[in-house]
Symmetry: C2
């Protein structure tokens, strides 16, 4: 069974090595990890970004599941490309798993970067825009997609010391995926 | 034909009014706009956020197209919920349109909030994470989803003065959607 490995890991200085570690962890649990950087792309080509899109989409279509790294990236929430891919896989009825190496709540992270107020009992930011405050780790669309189409978001008790390299929560997702994808069919 | 109206508009102080204006613009072009806040949700319920998810998903399943407001929200890129929904609709082969009231490039916006450097010829941020620099307005997954499944991202020449209320680019998307959704079938 194949698992698409989504996440901003591809932006790390050691992106290829992190992907290799993730694929190895998948193999250890009987799964085949598909990592975006395994697609061969000519980065000097004028249509390099379109090649990347097509490669990622082909991998998603081939995969039975997604494990999305939803660790906050360059702002209070998850990486946009990863979120797009989670929506794509949920719509295709693939098994959806995700983790974040930061267990804080979305509203807590927004409060760290801006002073929050309330309006009509709702939390708002400096621009007057409502801050989602349902006690969730990120935007409700992602969090509930995981609840409905896979397993609840996996988070550590405390933020991982190295949020970009700690694969403990990732491996927990791999275990969950292996259990769901390789389980014998239930007796009717 | 029905169009799902995705965007962080739902977080505005006058969210209901903005939705009404969007639905009216759709009607003027012969389309039915489906706006998330038209779902009746009991916000005091323990499962309010799950009700919102289910309501949005039902609207997406009912719609023939999505018009996504991808104006940067609380950071350098688009709102996560909207991005999730764009991925969902692309995977369901619905017509995908989107606009941003800020025509700047993703890398330009990241450069506004952090000093960028280069590593091996690639742009990196203060954390050492690669900054996508393909001359695109946002993450390539969203931008190319629009290219492949609808129309290229609609942006104004200059940033809209009121980025949360200017509906010029939105209306351009409505026109494109109307043309595509209500066009007579091509002669074979």
């Amino acid at each position: 069974m194949k698992v698409y490995l989504a996440g901003p890991d591809v932006f790390l200085p050691d992106a290829i090595d992190v992907g290799r570690r993730k694929v190895e962890l998948c193999a250890r649990h009987g799964l085949t990890g598909l990592y975006p950087l395994d697609n061969v792309i000519d980065l000097a080509a004028a249509d390099a970004s379109l090649q990347i899109y097509r490669g990622n989409e082909a991998m998603m279509n081939e995969a039975d599941a997604i494990i999305a790294n939803l660790t906050p990236f360059r702002g209070p929430g998850a990486d946009a490309g990863t979120v797009y891919e989670l929506g794509y896989m949920a719509a295709r009825a693939k098994l959806c798993l995700g983790y974040s190496n930061d267990p804080s709540l979305y509203a807590e992270r927004v409060a760290r970067i801006a002073e929050l107020k309330t309006r009509d009992g709702r939390l708002i930011d400096a621009q007057g825009l409502t801050v989602e405050n349902f006690g969730l780790a990120d935007n409700l669309m992602m969090i509930h997609a995981l609840d409905l189409y896979g397993c609840p978001l996996v988070v550590p008790r405390q933020a991982a010391e190295d949020i970009w390299h700690d694969l403990t929560s990732f491996e927990a997702c791999v275990r969950l995926a292996a259990k769901r994808l390789t389980a014998p069919p239930a007796l009717s």
